[in-house]
Every structure is written in structure tokens, then in C-alpha cells.
């Protein structure tokens, strides 16, 4: 296959066309922060953490949804990008109620790890403190909207991998919520197969099994892509 030349962070690369900037960066060990990206499901550019600078384009573009083109000059670690990564992370924390001390995901949370990576020590914006529901109606699992960052990894994995489409999204802005079916309790869902893939896809402590306590959550988001790959195999 023909390759095309691009430059990322002053590094000259020959890459396959058709790939996204994120894929190329991951292959070449160039760090890009992500939250809504999950290998195995479609990228939607929701979290805005993977924004990169491309020479000749004024806007910052999301690396996960932008394909490489010949002679692109890309920068991933400028001060401008670092500034926005920090702001985005702070807004995740300010928008819902992320109380790490009492969260099941404490210590195993992608949002915490992200905070450490961007050097977040405090939040410069006022917290919204929204009154969020904790849906415990499902016999085995809990959906805690306090911890949700609207990455919609659960929505995509349920739709694309399991094929059930139990999860979807309602409202806009800060009132946006992940919903089960047509906004009914999860336990009453007619589409949910209780497969548990959304648990593993969730980067925070928003979806978790009832059988665990604070800080004991074990997640395996890599399992989603393994499933997708295995299903492609012809036996």
C-alpha cells in the first residue's frame, strides 16, 4: 500500500492513508489523552481531550475523528493544547458530583488518572452540584449519574457490540443524561440483555456491579475490542 508523509511533533512519519491521527499517534507512541475513545467502537470526538493543532487550520481538531492527509503538520503537546486539556478535565469534575473518596472506582478511575496526567490539583470553576439519580433498579448493576462524564462509551458498546441499544442520550448541555430505553428505570428495560459490557466500557464509577464496595471496582475495557476482533474470525 502507498504510504503518505506526515509530521507529528517535529517527527517525520510515513503512514497508511485512511487512518485517524489518534491511531497513528498510538502506533508511534505519541501520547494523546482520551476519555470517549474506546478501541472496538466508533469514535465520536465527544470528550475533546484529543484535540491537536494542524498547521493551516485555525480550529483545533479531534485526533480520533480526523484522518491523516499527505503532508499534514500536526502538534500534540503545545501550551495551547495543554491549557485546553486542563480546562476540559476541570469541567468534567465541576459538571457532576465526583466524590472520589466514596466512589467505587476510586484508584481505578480513568478520570482520576486523567487529572493526574494534566496536573489538576484544584478546580477553578464553581461546581454545579446537580441533583443526580442513582438507578439501582437493575438486579445486578447500578447506574450512578453523579459520576457520568457523558463519554457515551456505554451507549456505543451497547448498540454496536451487544446490539441491544438499551442506552441512549437525552437532553442537551449540562442537563444531558444517559437513559435506559425511553428514560425508564434500568431494571424495567426490555432491551437490556444484562451482558455487562457497559460496565467494562465505563471509564469512571458511573456503571458498576452491586457486588462490590468502595474502591474495589475491577474493569476491563480492553475486553470490548477483544470481542470485536474475535467475532471477525472465521472458524
Amino acid at each position: 500500500m502507498n504510504t503518505i508523509p506526515i509530521i507529528i511533533d517535529e517527527k517525520k512519519l510515513e503512514v497508511d492513508p485512511g487512518k485517524t491521527i489518534l491511531e497513528v499517534c498510538r502506533e508511534n507512541e505519541i501520547e494523546i489523552l482520551t476519555m470517549c475513545h474506546l478501541k472496538g467502537v466508533l469514535d465520536i470526538g465527544a470528550c475533546r481531550l484529543c484535540l491537536v493543532e494542524i498547521e493551516g487550520i485555525n480550529k483545533l481538531l479531534s485526533a480520533c475523528t480526523t484522518k491523516v492527509a499527505a503532508n499534514m503538520i500536526i502538534r500534540t503537546n503545545t501550551d495551547r493544547i495543554k491549557k485546553y486539556q486542563r480546562i476540559t478535565t476541570e469541567l468534567f469534575f465541576a459538571e457532576r458530583n465526583h466524590v472520589c473518596a466514596v466512589c467505587v472506582a476510586n484508584g481505578k478511575c480513568e478520570l482520576q488518572d486523567l487529572g493526574y496526567k494534566v496536573g489538576l490539583d484544584h478546580i477553578r470553576y464553581p461546581h454545579l452540584f446537580p441533583q443526580c439519580e442513582v438507578d439501582t433498579s437493575h438486579p445486578w448493576y447500578v447506574m450512578d449519574h453523579n459520576r457520568c462524564i457523558m463519554c457515551t462509551r456505554c451507549v456505543r458498546v451497547c448498540n454496536e457490540v451487544e446490539g441491544a441499544h438499551n442506552w441512549d442520550v437525552m437532553n442537551r448541555g449540562h442537563q444531558v443524561r444517559v437513559i435506559s430505553d425511553f428514560n425508564s428505570p434500568w431494571g424495567e428495560s426490555v432491551t437490556c440483555t444484562s451482558c455487562g459490557k457497559c460496565l467494562h466500557a465505563c471509564p469512571t464509577g458511573a456503571i458498576w456491579p452491586k457486588a462490590i464496595v468502595q474502591g474495589q471496582l475491577q474493569k476491563n475495557p480492553g475486553m470490548i475490542n477483544e470481542l470485536v476482533e474475535k467475532r471477525k474470525m472465521k472458524l
Binding site: 469534575f93 458530583n97 466524590v99 472520589c100 473518596a101 493526574y116 496536573g119 484544584h122 461546581h127 452540584f129
Partner: protein, 180 residues
Amino acid sequence: MSKKKLATVWLGGCSGCHMSLLDIDERILDVAKLADIVKSPIVDGKEMPEVDIALVEGSITSDEHYREILHIRKKAKTLIAFGDCAVMTNVTGMRNYFPLKEVFDAAYVNAVSNDAEGQVPGHPSLLKLNDKVVPLQEVVNVDFVIPGCPPNADTIFYVLFEFLNDRLPDLGKAKKLKYG
């Protein structure tokens, strides 16, 4: 170099951060060489004097805390928000999702352990809770923050030791950031 003055204050928190401070164990002797602890829940002292460093645990939950933090800001050269509650309200802030009346009723009127005459205490000598719990930074300028619930003893010692030696700590670079 003259000895510095150090204060630690306990506002709307659980004192877990102070427990973690005690966990610096024998390193408190290194701190004592460089500073006198002039006010703290663990030393005898009433009014807060002028200090070089004040570690303030907990968030602002009442009129009393509000007055206190303004006083601390006047007296302290360096004010450090100490622990998740001081930095981002944490567990203390969980009552912010509900109207204050509901919170009071949940504790004093509707709690299962209450008898039929349960009522909200309203004695004038009691502090008055604010509608919303806020972190220190929403009331005063904060010079440094140590997140964590509680922060590790190592982190606390690192920050104290750097400040006592007139250096500015960097939690990100020192890989000592922690929430929860």
C-alpha cells in the same frame, strides 16, 4: 534563619487530614527544627496569631467557618488548602445536592433513630449552616492546595518541608497528586 510559625486549622472536615499529618511520624522532628506549631487542634492555643504557613482542613460550611477563614487569611502569609474538602468540598459538599431544610430534616426529624418529637436544634449559640458548602478558594485566595482524602503523609511532609525551606512544591512534577 529564624524559625517559621506554622498553624493547622480544622474547619468543615472529618479531621482525617490531621490524622494523616500525624502520620508523618518522626519527621515531625524535622518540621519542629524549622518551625513552631503555634496553633492546631493538637496543641493548646486559642486565638490564631500571625503565622508563615497555615494548613486549613475542611470546607466552608457555616457562618463561623466563614469568619474564621477570613481571619486566617489576614494572619497567614501562606494559606494551604489541606485535603479534598478544602480543595473541592468532597464529602462535606454532598449535602449541596439538596435544599438545606431537607438535609436538616433528614438528620433531626425523619431519621429512623429519632423519636416522634425530633426537631431541628436552633439555639442562638450554635453556628448557622450556610445553604451551600464551598471550597476555601471561593471565599479567600488560596496559595497552595494539597488534594487527597486524606493526602498521604509523604505528600504533606513534602509540601511542608519545601515551604519551610522557602521552595515552592510542585505536586504534579513530584507525582504526588491524589484525589479520594
